[in-house]
Symmetry: C2
Subunit: 341 residues, 2 copies
Amino acid sequence: MSSIITLAHGSGGIKTGELINKVIRSIISFKKVSSGVGLDDLDDSAIIPLNGEMLLALTIDSYTVKPIFFPGGDIGKLAITGTINDLAVMGALPIAIVDSIVVEEGFSIDNLRRIVQSMNEVSVKEGVAIVGGDFKVMPKGNVDEIVITTAGIGLVRKNELVLDSGAKVGDKVIVTGTIGEHGATILAMQLELEATDFNLLSDCSPITKVIREVLSIGGLHAAKDPTRGGLATALNDIAKKSQVNIVIRERDIPISRGVRAICELTGIDPLHLACEGRAVMVVDGEVAETIINKLRNIGCSDASIIGEVTEEGEGLVFLKSVVGGTRIIDPPRGEVVPRIC
Amino acid sequence: MSSIITLAHGSGGIKTGELINKVIRSIISFKKVSSGVGLDDLDDSAIIPLNGEMLLALTIDSYTVKPIFFPGGDIGKLAITGTINDLAVMGALPIAIVDSIVVEEGFSIDNLRRIVQSMNEVSVKEGVAIVGGDFKVMPKGNVDEIVITTAGIGLVRKNELVLDSGAKVGDKVIVTGTIGEHGATILAMQLELEATDFNLLSDCSPITKVIREVLSIGGLHAAKDPTRGGLATALNDIAKKSQVNIVIRERDIPISRGVRAICELTGIDPLHLACEGRAVMVVDGEVAETIINKLRNIGCSDASIIGEVTEEGEGLVFLKSVVGGTRIIDPPRGEVVPRIC
């Protein structure tokens, strides 16, 4: 391992995993509370058992997206949404959020107001209270504009807890909409392309309702919101933790024309581009069609079954290509799109 | 209000309060969960009612201290300790922490390891699990070395909840040790003085045990850890929220020779310098001496009664000077010591 941190260590891909293993997971020794889910599980939230049938979900994320305003949202909407989604994919009902805002000296108070207004909109719409926070200012040149960190709690019934490790042979893999919209939108702006010329719009939005509809049907074995590292990373996480192999079909993966265009222009794999308002779910094969119908009824018009869990295994994800042939899909090795969240 | 953020907005003093009121509290509309403690209360943690006699405490803070290593600790120890202390002063037993580390590209992996080791030491010693986290890398020049954000949860019994608003006429004001050590240590290093020449050592340490011993005696009406903005800010918060006036006596406030020396050199008021391992407590006058004896027995050799709550009022804090005369103590107006936490 090199002796300094590189951008690739922050990609959410292979290098991030290596660094977290060697410098965080191997050093921290008290990593979970009793029979809960903790640091070694690297799930979307930690789980802390309370008395009785309820579990507490707890998660944190820092948001450093650049640019801070983008088609479909801004860093404030993203911060509240991302934390809600990390709770929702555990099967939790998000309850409350605390936020910490670190801004650079000289930051515009009007822009801060716009960002806080976006945070408020999501909070009110989703019924998740913003109960406290911290606010710090760093001297000019010490932080780029603004970093927002949000931590959230939610409550999960024991029988509704959804872990990355729950995928089973015979399960179907579902995505709730087109993939890569958020990553492609940010990428276009970073390349100084007009995101709107490609009809790009971040998919940034809470997925609590979607997950809860699926929970009410039953058969939800694993779920993630495929953010940093995209669908490829989310599926690899599920496959490895569940010790199964997964096959997905390229032709069934919903990808918008704009995302395809940006990917062709840049050579980036759409499977590596972040979503911020989609879920990938591994569900009982028997209810997969029921779930797809329900999802389409509640507005997820592009929800699709994209593959299945084919066998127990070492956690490989295979892509059946449109043009024929099958290849293994890995998480990204380098920094695909910097600072997408 | 000016249209850009200045360093003074991050001081923890008057300007921070103004900004938070105008740009955060007035915009966020869903600010607490049912009968809990939320954003408008600006207490050390938010409180979320659970079923039965238990309340959940939730808090978040970002740490941007510069330098990141200092006599008595480092940014990792500070981040875990600060979050534990924000829970402890609510009367909560800290249970679990999640952390988010944002580092600059080029940051030393050895230094990251040292910082994570410090986090682990506090976690293990205090029995508070580090259950999850986030890790992001920003391009060089976009963040200064490292920012750590920690969020923590704890459980409080309803009858042990300690709010800033609980001070009553006749109560005594106690500090658990010498004040300003952390702020003075960081200040000395920022001025490129040798902190050790002044015998300065940050007081950075968890205060859970101290608070719990006092809870076991009873009569604890309000408590804070006086970090940013120092004792002056903590006492003003308590006085204003409790609608009482407080008088403290300069001669009874424990201040080390080193802190006095730095304050004389710089003209900074020691009451504005941060502690990171002390509590200020407002306790029933009848048990104040019992509490002081207990505190001295458990190693708080400088614990002192420094004043009392004299009357109902608009929340003023008066200092009886050693040389005679009484003056009003305000929170700092500008940026006293930048980036002390």
